[in-house]
Symmetry: C2
Subunit: 365 residues, 2 copies
């Protein structure tokens, strides 16, 4: 493990072959780096733009070893890569972000405890191992709230909303006994996120916080800049800084936060930490000289980080499921940057692409 930057022509291995891997691979290619994608699915969006790919399961040690030996550094595009797979690869090749940081984010409890230890606000929660735990938690924290599995959640998967009318036994049953948390619903003004990148040498840079809107628990729209006071934007990047520093992180990481108003007792509450490039940073592809994808590649390849400044303000909208059928109308829109991920089948809730509308940069104070 050396800190010499990987020379152009080197190969970056990426675990996962979805749209994030696809955009990472294209950004790596821009820098003259090749990508080798490892994914357990037959047809993955990233395969079509990568120099090489392996189809293999994440517990196939032989395939993982062969993959590790074929690349100069390994990284990932989804946080639920099994810890054992990362450990296996790390025997043969440097892995960034550090596996520990991935493990923390795989477990909502570990994530919350990690944030609390840093003095960073999180939504009040209780651990849930039984129906009685859930009943106690709801009594203690009140409704509405969210019952969430500790592991394998994303885009609202592994979550049940607990409203006044929700029956707790049914809600608990739906998790099939998985370890879980009950989390008090936060009454926030806005959701924001900070995309931060940290280099191998510890250099840390931030894109300005973006403002996000979810629909059906999936990100629908991101706008940059976020409509929050400058003090809040500063506090949000400070939280991101403390997180990547404590994790001795390398690569891009995204912190999703709830902004609860300047006068709330805790104005900012961390909702989620994603140890990877993030959907709420897709606007950087079109509005910045160096995107989150390129900065992630730069970081894991030991390159100097690129600028996180933007030349334009932007609004990004996801194309989810049938939204993608509008591709022709979207292609006609002026100043719209259309991105389609090459997924063959439209399914409800599936991220098929995104569109970024650029707007003239408004200088902020």
């Amino acid at each position: 493990m050396t800190d010499t930057p990987l020379a152009p022509g080197s190969t970056v291995g990426i675990l996962g072959g979805g749209q994030l891997g696809r955009m990472l691979a294209m950004s790596a290619a821009r820098l003259g780096l090749n990508c080798h994608i490892y994914c357990n699915e037959q047809r993955s969006p990233a395969f079509e733009v990568a120099a090489d790919h392996t189809i293999g399961d994440y517990d196939d040690e032989a395939a993982l070893k062969k993959f590790a030996k074929s690349v100069d550094v390994a990284t990932l595009e989804f946080e639920n890569v099994p810890a054992a797979a990362l450990a296996a690869i790390a025997k043969d090749v440097p892995v960034f972000p550090p596996p520990y940081s991935v493990e923390v984010s795989q477990d909502r409890l570990a994530e919350k405890q990690f944030a609390e230890k840093l003095g960073i606000g999180v939504a009040p929660y209780c651990e849930v191992h039984s129906l009685e735990d859930l009943q106690d938690a709801v009594e203690q924290l009140g409704r509405p709230g969210l019952l969430k599995t500790r592991r394998l959640g994303y885009d609202g998967k592994g979550q049940v909303k607990i409203t006044d009318s929700t029956g707790l036994p049914e809600a608990y049953e739906s998790l099939s006994g998985a370890a879980a948390l009950y989390e008090k619903f936060i009454d926030f003004d806005r959701e924001i996120s900070v995309v931060v990148v940290r280099g191998r040498d510890g250099e840390t840079r931030f894109y300005d916080p973006s403002e996000n809107r979810h629909e059906n628990q999936i990100l629908a729209e991101t706008r940059i800049p976020a409509r929050v006071p400058g003090t809040i934007a500063h506090a949000a990047t400070d939280i991101a800084e403390r997180i990547v520093s404590a994790l001795d992180y390398c690569g891009v990481l995204c912190v999703e936060l709830f902004y609860c108003g300047e006068h709330a007792s805790a104005p900012l509450v961390v909702n989620e930490i994603a140890p990877r490039v993030h959907n709420s940073g897709h606007w950087t592809l079109d509005a910045c000289a160096v995107s989150q994808f390129e900065n992630h590649v730069r970081a894991v390849a030991g390159w100097p980080l690129g600028t996180c400044a933007r030349h334009s303000d932007a609004i990004m909208r996801n194309l989810i499921g049938e939204d993608a059928e509008n591709w022709l109308a979207l292609a006609r829109e002026e100043n719209a940057c259309l991105h389609l991920y090459g997924k063959r089948q439209i399914r409800p809730g599936r991220k098929m692409g995104h569109v970024t509308w650029l707007r003239e940069l408004r200088r902020q104070d």
Copy 2:
């Protein structure tokens, strides 16, 4: 041959696998289109970012046929594709730009005659089939001048400069008897170029003219906007419009012009017509919502054209030969967009990559 736009998931075939093919393939992927690259070289920069590739000679009819049958539309990234190859492919699949326009640009004489027929200024020239022709031409047009082969010229290849001290027999010998032209050297103020895109339906859009500087007959630097009066910029795009209209063109085309000063008898003289995406349009990747590469793909795929407006001014510099050894220093420069083409071997005069520096847009009158 229908004018229905190709749906995402369709395949664009590209003849040629160099950096232009590489950037075309990445732009196609952004739109959810796959690329199949056909190239006669073993390791081509475009292979690493394309869904499929074929290594074959441009006179291998069977391989060309198989390629044609595997794609939904075919295009090219270099203008010296043999006419027979284009004709062979056109039997099975639509080819854009139209083969006739490619043939015109393959022959400097045909290109000049085509421009003259449209009333567009070209450098004074004489045909050269013998040493006597050359001697007559030099006597008639004077020195300095350029002796150019009619075919297979690019980046200064197939050209000899005729100065006061050049011996004409040696100059003529160096062309090995190839049909040629002697062209009077134009005393220009600036070199500019217009990148134009025309859709299948005839819609035509232009990027603003850029200003180019060559070194050793290879493009060294492009700056946008060109430092020419607005009337000249307008006249230049008008010339480009007449060219693509007369060719019933589809795709991106670049017109290189000499600007000889507002008060010259012919202020603008066409130097070259390139029926493809062009090095002087690389800045569009970073300074526009839709690049020349994406607009070429849109045009040949029958999509609506994208905007040609830019959000930033820019300076693009080519990384030629050993320039590419500076990749690490260039990666450190703020606001520099670094592009490396994945070429393994540095050779003198070889285009290894480019850098675009973005600057704040200055509104022009």
